[in-house]
Assembly symmetry: C2
DNA sequence: TTGTATGCGTTATCAG
DNA sequence: CTGATAACGCATACAA
C-alpha cells in the first residue's frame, strides 16, 4: 500500500497543506506540527510520487547545458547527442533543458557563462574547458546557489555536484598496457598530437603521464619514448613533413600514441606515405577515427562513452534537482578498448 | 502547447470518453466518430501523457523475468542486478516485475515456464537456455498473445519481440584479434573450457567459431589451434592433470582461450603450477575472473555488459507494453575488452 | 500558521 | 455506442 501525503496528514493530525509545507520547506510550520509530521513520515515511510508531482507542477525547472560547439570540435557531437537523448526521454516532465554552444575560445566561453547566469537556471551542466574561467564561473554559481555538474574535463579546484568523465591518467595507462602487449624486442614509441587550440588541456597531459607511468612501474622491455608536438596552425601542413621526417630518423618506431582525438590526421599521413608497420593508438570514436580504424590504419581507439557523458549528466541533474536525490560526486565512465572487430557494436554507432 | 485528449475531443466533436475508447481500441466506436477522431489526432499531433496515464491507471501491468538461478551459475548475478536496478527505477509506475529463477536443467526450466504462463503476465523476459524447450515456450506465449524478449542467448528459430545480448561470433573474432596482436613467431593456441552442465551452449560454439574464423580469413602468422574439453564432473579434479599434461606435451602453447565464463578455473590451475608465460583470454566479469585479472593470471576478459542485459530487457519491455513503442528486434551490446588497467572502471563494479 | 478547494491529463465506471 | 464524472497523488492559491 502506497503512503500518500493525506495519509501522513491524518496520522499527524494536521492538514495535507501543512504536510506539504513541511516536506518542501515552503512557508512556515509550527514546531509541534513539524514534529508530529516528521514522526508520521518516519513511521509510515513516505515516498513522494514523482509522477503525480509532475502532473500537478505549475512552473518548470530549467537545466542549462554549456558545451563547445560540435561544429567547431567534432568530438562534442556525441555528448550533444547524449543530451538530446536525455531530453527526449524526459520530455514528459515539466523540464526545460536548454543548450548553449560556445566556440572553443576563452571569450566565447565567458559569454556563454554570462548567458547561463542571466537565464536563471535551476541547474547548470558545463565543460570546464578553461581552468581559470571555469573556476570563476563555478564560484558565481555557488554564490547563486545553483547546482552544477562538470563533464569530460576534471577541474581540480572547483567542487561540482558531480563530475562525469573518464579517468584520463588511467586511460593513458591502459593505452600503454595494450602497447606493451604488442611490443617486440626493439621498439621506440612516439607520442604526438596535432593541436588546433592554443590551450593545452590537462586531460591530454594526464593521458600522456599515465602512459609513461605504466612503463616506469613495470619491469617490461622499456621502450624509448619520444615526443613531437605538431601545430595545425603552422602554415600549410608543415606538420606532415615534420612527422615523416621524424619517422625517417627513427626507423625503429613501432608505435604512435595520440593522446587527443585527432589520431585520424596522423593516420591520414601514414596512409598517404604508405607506412603500414606502425601501431597507431588514439582516442575517441569520431567518424574519421572510426573510418581509419576499419581500414586498419588506426589499430586501437580508446573510447570514453562520450554519448553517455551528455546523457548521464542530464539524468544526474534531473535526479538531483527534480527527485532531490543525492548523487555521487565522481562518476568515472568505462575506459573502452575498440578495434576494428568490436567498433560496430559500440554505443549504438 | 500540449495537446490533450479533451482537445482532440472538442475538435472531433465527441466526448473524451469516445476518444479514449478509440485510441485504446477498447469498446466500440462508430465509424464516423472514429474518422473524425483520427483526423483530429493527426492534425493536432496528440502524444499521450504517460505520467498522467500512470496516475489514473487502475490495474498494474505484470512483467515476468525467467532466468537461471544466480546461486547455481554465478554469471547470472549481474543480469539479476540489472533487473533490480530497472525495478527500482520504474518503481513509480504501476508495474509488477517478478523474477523466477530456475536451476540450469531442462526440468527446472520447464517448471519455471509453467509458472510464468499460469501467472498471466503481460510480458515475459527469459533466457532461452534450452533450444527445444525454449521454442515450445515461445510458441505458447505467442498463442496467448504475450510479448516476450530473449536475453543473452540468441535463439535462431523463435521470433521474440527483441533479443538483447552479444554477438557471440563477433566476440570470438575480437578475442582472436587481441590474441593475434600479442602473438610471437612460434605459437600454439589452446581452446579449452570446463563445463558443468551436460548441455552445450550455442553461444560458446559461436565464440569458438568466431575465433577460428578470424585467423582463417587473415594472412597472419597462422597459429596451431588445439581443443581440449574438460568436464568438471569427472571425478576429483582430473581435469587439472589433463590440462597440465597437455601443456607439457605442447610447450609452444602461448595462448589459452576459454570461451565460457570459467576462465578462473584454468587460471587457478596455471597459478598453482606456476605457469606464467601463457596469455589467458576469457569471458565475463565474474568476481573470480576479476580477481585473477588483477593478479595478472588472466590477461584479458571479454565483457558483455551482463548487467545491462537485465536492465535493458526490462526497460525495453516497459517501453513496449507500457508506452506502446516499437522496439528494435535485435539489440547487440558492446563487446568489451577488459584488462587489469580498465577493469576498475567497468560497469560500476 | 493552517485548512480547503481546485486542477493537472488520464483511466474507468456508470448511466444514458 | 456515447457522454459525464469521479478518482489518481500532488502543488498551489486562497481563505481562515
Amino acid at each position: 500500500m502506497k503512503i500518500r501525503i493525506v495519509d501522513i496528514a491524518k496520522k499527524a493530525e494536521v492538514s495535507a497543506g501543512t504536510v506539504d509545507r513541511f516536506i518542501h520547506q515552503r512557508g512556515k510550520v509550527s514546531n509541534k506540527a513539524a514534529e508530529k509530521i516528521q514522526k508520521a513520515v518516519k513511521e509510515l515511510g513516505y515516498e513522494p510520487d514523482i509522477l503525480a508531482r509532475n502532473l500537478a507542477l505549475k512552473k518548470e525547472l530549467k537545466i542549462i547545458c554549456l558545451l563547445p560547439d560540435p561544429k567547431e570540435t567534432k568530438y562534442w557531437e556525441r555528448p550533444d547527442a547524449g543530451i538530446n537523448k536525455a531530453i527526449k526521454e524526459l520530455s514528459s516532465f515539466k523540464l526545460a533543458i536548454e543548450k548553449i554552444y560556445f566556440a572553443p575560445r576563452v571569450d566565447a566561453f565567458n559569454g556563454a557563462c554570462k548567458i547561463a547566469i542571466d537565464s536563471k537556471a535551476d541547474g547548470v551542466i558545463y565543460v570546464p574547458m578553461f581552468f581559470n574561467e571555469s573556476g570563476i564561473f563555478a564560484e558565481k554559481l555557488k554564490t547563486l546557489n545553483i547546482p552544477y555538474i562538470h563533464i569530460n574535463i576534471h577541474h581540480s579546484e572547483a567542487t561540482p555536484l558531480s563530475f562525469i568523465g573518464q579517468n584520463a591518467f588511467g586511460a593513458g595507462k591502459l593505452a600503454a598496457s595494450l602497447c606493451q602487449m604488442a611490443l617486440r624486442e626493439k621498439h621506440e614509441v612516439l607520442i604526438t598530437y596535432i593541436s588546433k587550440e592554443q590551450q593545452e588541456y590537462s586531460h591530454h597531459h594526464a593521458r600522456i603521464e599515465g602512459f609513461i607511468n605504466y612503463f616506469e612501474n613495470k619491469k617490461f622491455v622499456q621502450p624509448v619514448i619520444h615526443h613531437l608536438n605538431l601545430k595545425i596552425d603552422t602554415n600549410n601542413r608543415s606538420y606532415e613533413k615534420q612527422l615523416i621526417g621524424f619517422l625517417k630518423e627513427h626507423p625503429n618506431t613501432s608505435t604512435i600514441y595520440v593522446p587527443n582525438s585527432r589520431a585520424f590526421r596522423i593516420a591520414s599521413i601514414l596512409q598517404k606515405s604508405n607506412i603500414t608497420n606502425i601501431m597507431l593508438i588514439g582516442f575517441d570514436t569520431l567518424d574519421e577515427n572510426i573510418q581509419f580504424l576499419k581500414e586498419g590504419v588506426i589499430d586501437i581507439l580508446i573510447g570514453q562513452q562520450s554519448k553517455s557523458q551528455g546523457y548521464n549528466a542530464v539524468m544526474l541533474m534531473f535526479n538531483a534537482i527534480f527527485r532531490k536525490e543525492k548523487i555521487a560526486d565522481i562518476n568515472y565512465l568505462p575506459i573502452d578498448v575498440l578495434n576494428c572487430q568490436n567498433i560496430d557494436y559500440y554505443e549504438g554507432l
